[in-house]
Each structure stands twice: as C-alpha cells, then as structure tokens.
C-alpha cells in the first residue's frame, strides 16, 4: 500500500489472509449442515443445552426494567467507538505504555502469530497456558505455536474438552456444547493421564478432574496468553470475563502475559463498562454476573505478571469497517445469545459454519472478515426469522446484514463469472414476466400445471428438476389452487378493478 491519503481514492482494506487461522471451512454450509443433521446425538445435546440457556437468559433479562435502555446505550457506544477508532487506539496504546505495558500492532493473523512466537521464544519456554479467547482461535495461534514446538495449553473447561478430544470448537461461549457429560467423561479418561478410572459423569466430578489436571500447570506457568473482552481507551485497562478461575490463574500467576485483542474491542471510558458489564453476563451465560471478572492496567509492581504485552489485531476488521451496511457486525461483544436462539444453529451446531464464529453473528462476521466469496454460503444459513436481532445486547440488525451480504455475493459472483448463476437467471426471467400484466396472468395460470405434482399429499415435495430440486430439497411447496387469484377476481367482479 503506497500513498494512502494523497490520492483521495478510498482503497478498500484487505480481508484476513487465506491459509492461516480458522475463519474458513472446508465445505459449504448446506453439505456440512446435512451431515450434522444426521447426527441425532448432536441434535439432542444441542437442543438440551440451547433450551436451558434460553430460559436462563430470559429470566435474568426480565429482572432489569431498563434492559432496552441498556441495549440502546450499548449500541450507541459501539457505533461511536467505531467512528473514532484511530483516536481510541492511540489512547489505549499510550495508556498501556504509561503503565509499563508494551503495545504491538498486527495487520493480520500471520503477523500476530509471529509476534507471539517471538515473545514466547525469548522467554525460553516450550509451554504456555491460555485463557479462552476467540481472537487467538481466529488466528490459529495454537497451531502456529505447535509448529515451532511450543505447546499451548487451553485452560477453560470447554476448550480443554475440545483440545483433548482433538475436536473443533462449536460455540463462542461453550466450545464443547456439542458434547454431553458421558462423552466428556470418555474423553477425560482417554486423554488425561492423571484421571481417576472411577470418574463419574456428574458435571461436578468432571469439573473436579479438570481442576486437578490443570493445577500443577497453573502454579508453574511462566507465560500466559489471553484475549480481552474489553479494552478501555481512557485508562488502558483490559478486562477478562470468565467463570472458572482459569482466567484469573493465567492473568495473575505467570511472569509474562500476552493479550491478543481485536481492534474493535475498545470502549472509550471506564464508566462505559457499566453498560457492558450488565449486558454481557446476562446475555451469555444467563447469569446476573459471571463468577469472575479481572481488570488490569499495564503492570502492577508486586501483583501479577511483571511483563505485559498487548497485541492489537486487524485481520480483516478494517475491511468490515469499510462496508456501511455490514460494519455493525464489528459491534459484537461475543455473548453468543444469537446462537442459542437461532433455529438453524440449534439444529446444525457450530461446526457446519466452518468458522470459529458460528451461528447468526458468524454468518455475518466470517464472510466479511474473509471476503464474501470465501464464505459465500454462510449468509444463506438463516431463515431470517429475526430472533437473533431481538436478543442481541448491542442491537446488531443481523437479518438486515444477512440480506445485504446475499446481495453482495450475487453481485460479486456476477462480476466474476461470465455465466450468471442459476438463481440470477431465474430472477431475471421472473423480472421479465412480472413487468408485463399479460405475461404475468399467463404465468400464474400455468402454475395450475403444478397441481399434477402434489396429488398424493396435497403438497409438492422433491421435484427432480434442476433449480426446482435445489428449492424443494429442503422445503415442501403448497399445491397450487385450481383457480388463480386474478381469475377468481375477474369472475367475481366481472373484470372491474
């Protein structure tokens, strides 16, 4: 990139690079979803977990008479922050530095991983402890560390289940939501050398096994890596919201702490946390407050890590910011309420989305971070029912952005291919028919031919024809009536309009 300001031509920032990280799946959503739907155990696990959390969330949200006012404040705070991002980034940078921290900037996943690797190598360790973090999942940090011989130990219970099960996370908050207690017990017995063979599948016993397994690691760890839920520009304060205490262990015990934070996680001032600390716990775990929240500013002599590094990560976020109809996806505070209410997520689970960001928010965030064509099927992974918008604590209009991204995909596809897509051709033909009353009346009458198809059940199921097959694969179609509305109107009203 040369001369970014001089020409005045708004060049569009690049998406996250290919070949690194976990934003792109190996297959399209429909085929991945079909496989997930066939897994009855998975569907039972997901159905149970999402039902539990939906009820809990609804109860604690109902306790607050000013929930809607908090949502609106949260939304406006985010909109304001995104509009003043350079100022706030420079503010947090100098505030952290003033308190003894070191700030690094990373254009993308490769650069962020390289910075972490260099820092870890300089400490001469071959093992680091990690606090659950979406940003480090997104950039594939564990894989990058492994490639240079450093073991990254996940310490969040669900992340540990995923890591020990050689599995992938399927939920933002509870990455092992697709596993039930019996499966978790089996993984622990198989993978934890120190697990008691008599371990029961009671959640309390499983949590106890994780405590025992990680305790020695925590007490001897030299380097920890975390993400951040919030970074306060005014003070340089970072916050991590958690439940188990593994976060506190990582943020307090090691000598060195490295925090990777997306540039969109900024909050202007300390006071603003009063909004997000009410919105986030109630939306995510359905608790009035999560058990532990840690906040630290740079280095505190005698208390906690004496060396602190903050890595500010772009990795496609500025590309999202450049789309006025899609940029609100950056306002997400990663609560995962939209996953838990989504009828599509509830049935397919998170793996079908291919990205570390699944569910409705993933369907609008992942394609924007990677460029739409690398995740083109995700904006269609929705029935547009709007439940996600209703629960979003910062009021991201997810259905609207989904529709916008569908249009963007259609346009990008058309621009890149000389032959239009089947859908685009059908739409063009429909436009030709519908723009003329005579053609339209004839077309409607021809619909009666469809009656031949649905004689048995009075609905039309699979139609084994190109295009029609794609539609009817997943949907029944109403059998057309004997008479069109227009013909009925003409008969009843004698041609009067």
């Amino acid at each position: 990139m040369s001369a970014p300001v001089m020409l005045g031509i708004p060049e569009i920032p690049p998406p996250s690079p290919r070949g690194v990280g976990n934003l792109r799946g190996e297959e399209k959503f429909p085929s991945a979803a079909r496989r997930a739907l066939a897994d009855t155990q998975l569907r039972r696990n997901l159905g149970k977990a999402t039902t539990t959390i939906r009820t809990k969330r609804a109860q604690v949200v109902a306790e607050l008479p000013d929930w809607e006012e908090l949502r609106e404040a949260g939304r406006q705070l985010k909109v304001h922050t995104m509009a003043h991002l350079p100022d706030y980034l420079e503010q947090i940078e100098s505030a952290v530095a003033a308190r003894g921290g070191v700030v690094h900037w990373a254009r993308d996943a490769n650069e962020a991983n390289a910075i972490v690797i260099e820092l870890v190598r300089a400490r001469g360790v071959d093992e680091v402890v990690k606090v659950k973090s979406m940003a480090t999942q997104e950039i594939g940090l564990n894989e990058a560390l492994e490639a240079v011989g450093v073991a990254a130990l996940e310490t969040d219970l669900a992340e540990l289940i995923v890591q020990l099960g050689h599995d992938k996370p399927s939920h933002i908050l509870v990455p092992a939501i697709h596993r039930n207690r019996a499966e978790i017990r089996e993984i622990f017995l198989r993978e934890m050398a120190d697990a008691d063979p008599a371990l029961s599948d009671e959640p309390a016993a499983l949590a106890g096994a994780a405590r025992q397994h990680l305790r020695r690691k925590f007490l001897s760890a030299k380097v920890a890596i975390s993400g951040a839920n919030f970074g306060i520009a005014e003070t340089g304060t970072l916050g991590v919201v958690e439940s188990e205490g593994n976060g506190r262990m990582c943020l307090t015990l090691p000598e060195t702490l490295i925090t990777v934070m997306g540039i969109e996680k900024l909050v202007p001032r300390w006071q603003d946390l009063e909004v997000f600390l009410q919105l986030l716990p109630r939306s995510s775990t359905g608790e009035r407050m999560n058990p532990y929240t840690s906040m630290w500013t740079g280095v505190t002599p005698g208390d906690g890590p004496q060396e602190f590094h903050l890595i500010l990560l772009d990795n496609g976020r500025t590309a999202v910011l450049a789309d006025s109809d899609g940029r609100d996806a950056l306002n997400c505070i990663r609560c995962s309420a939209c996953l838990n209410v989504c009828p599509v997520y509830e049935r397919t689970g998170g793996h079908a989305y291919g990205s570390v960001y699944p569910g409705p928010i993933g369907a609008i965030l992942s394609p924007q971070l990677t460029g739409i064509e690398d995740n083109a099927s995700l904006p269609y992974a929705s029935s547009l029912c709007g439940a996600c918008y209703d629960v979003c604590p910062v009021k991201i209009n997810i259905p609207e952005i989904l529709v916008h991204l569908r249009a963007k995909h259609t346009e990008t596809y058309a621009a890149e291919h000389r032959v239009p897509s089947a859908e685009a051709s059908a739409m063009r033909a429909a436009a030709w028919v519908m723009s003329n009353p005579k053609r339209w009346t004839l077309a409607l009458r021809s619909g009666r031919l469809g009656r031949a198809l649905g004689r048995k059940r009075d609905v039309i199921g699979d139609v084994p024809m190109p295009l029609a097959k794609q539609w009817t694969d997943a949907r029944d179609f109403a059998r057309p009536p004997q008479q069109t509305f227009r013909d009925w109107w003409a008969a009843e009203h004698g041609g009067q309009r």
């Binding site: 990139m1 569009i12 920032p13 254009r107 650069e111 499983l206 188990e244 307090t252």
Partner: protein, 216 residues
C-alpha cells in the same frame, strides 16, 4: 509503512469509503438506571439473596461480634492456617486459634504460590459489593491484598460493611479506581461448560463465605 501506520491508514480508508455516522460521546443515550432509592436494609437483604442464590455462604453479625463470627466460620470450615493480606484489621482475627500468615506487596513479604496452596483459607475485606448481582469487588488496597491471595486457597472468607454495599453496577464502578488491579467475584468458582448447567467449584476457591457486618 509499519503495522501501526498501516492499520491506522486502513481505518482512515474504511472511514473514507463508508463515512461513519456523527455521534459525539456526549450525545450517547444513557437512559438506563444509575441511581436507586432502595434503603440500606433493602440493599443488604438483596445482596444476601443474590449471594445465596449463587451458592455463597452468608453470615451476619454486629461489629462487636465480628472477631467471634470469623472464628466460628473458620472453626466450622475446619480451617487452621489462614493467610491474610497486610493491612487487614488485626482485631478481626483476634478470636481465632489457628495460625495466620500475612502476605504483603513488598518482595520479602510475598508468600510463595506453594505456601498459598498449603493454607486452609484466606480472609479479606472488599472495596465494594453490588447488591443486584451479588458481586464482591477487591481492588488490592490494604486488607484486600494481591490478586493471587484470593485465588489459590480453596476457601475465601470476605467481610463486607454496610457502607460498601451499592445497588447496581454503575454505582460500583463510580467508586473504583480502574488502574488498580480489580477482581469482581460473584459466588464461588463455577462453570457452565457441561450441558450449560452451572456447577460450582473449578479453579478458584470452591467455597466463598461472606460475613455482612450490620448494626444489629
């Protein structure tokens, strides 16, 4: 161009391509509640309700009975060796019979991790308590100690005074200095990672006991 310059240039380019709405900080809507007209008694009652709901143990006592109440709590727990942060009012522990380790910020006062792992519990005060959420906030001041102190021992006994109890999150944050290391604690360590059911007891203290000092 280095990474810093490039990220800032990309943001500038994004803002040129899609000019953001003009919403000054002062105009951000803040219609939510930031005050409460609940009485001190009502707030104490709410705090107790919320603490108990998240499986913390709660005792109430008068200021005169504090030492005795702490001794009772430790005896019931079977805690013989406890660690306390420097600056903790020594009268609080005057009734207990076991041994007390004191931990301070200065290097030669700091207890090692294995020492902390060997004690039966920790006693601290707090900076603020939030009634609506059942949250205790420690800010590292004298009597609250380093963060590690309330993390390694399996039992945390925290003393709360009535003037430390506020209604909700906004009132609590207004009382805190953000650059101090802060820990917000709402119940004992827990997880919702197995089938999204809350289970107490993972890496932090598995038992949290709160003594609320009242006027009675």
């Amino acid at each position: 161009m280095n990474a810093r310059e490039e990220v800032l240039a990309r943001i500038a380019a994004a803002h040129r391509a899609a000019p953001p709405p003009d919403l000054p900080y002062e105009r951000i809507s803040r219609e939510y509640r930031t005050t409460s007209d609940s009485s001190a008694e009502a707030l104490t009652e709410l705090l107790i309700d919320r603490l108990v709901d998240y499986r913390a143990l709660v005792r109430q006592c008068s200021a005169d009975d504090l030492a005795e109440t702490i001794a009772d709590a430790l005896a019931d727990r079977g805690a013989h060796t406890v660690v306390v942060p420097s600056g903790l009012d020594s009268s609080w522990t005057s009734g207990m019979s076991g041994s007390i380790l004191t931990d301070g910020l200065l290097a030669h006062h700091r207890r090692t991790v294995s020492e902390l792992d060997g004690v039966d519990g920790v006693i601290t005060g707090c900076a603020v308590a939030i009634a609506a959420t059942g949250t205790l906030i420690l800010d590292g001041s004298p009597g609250q100690g380093r963060r590690v102190l309330t993390l390694i021992p399996d039992y945390h006994l925290c003393v709360v005074f009535p003037d430390q109890i506020v209604a909700d999150v906004p009132q609590a944050l207004a009382r805190l200095e953000p650059t101090q290391p802060l820990t917000m604690i709402s119940g004992p360590s827990a997880t919702s990672d197995i089938e999204l059911n809350r289970v107490e007891g993972v890496h932090g203290p598995r038992t949290l006991e709160v003594i609320i000092v009242g006027e009675e």
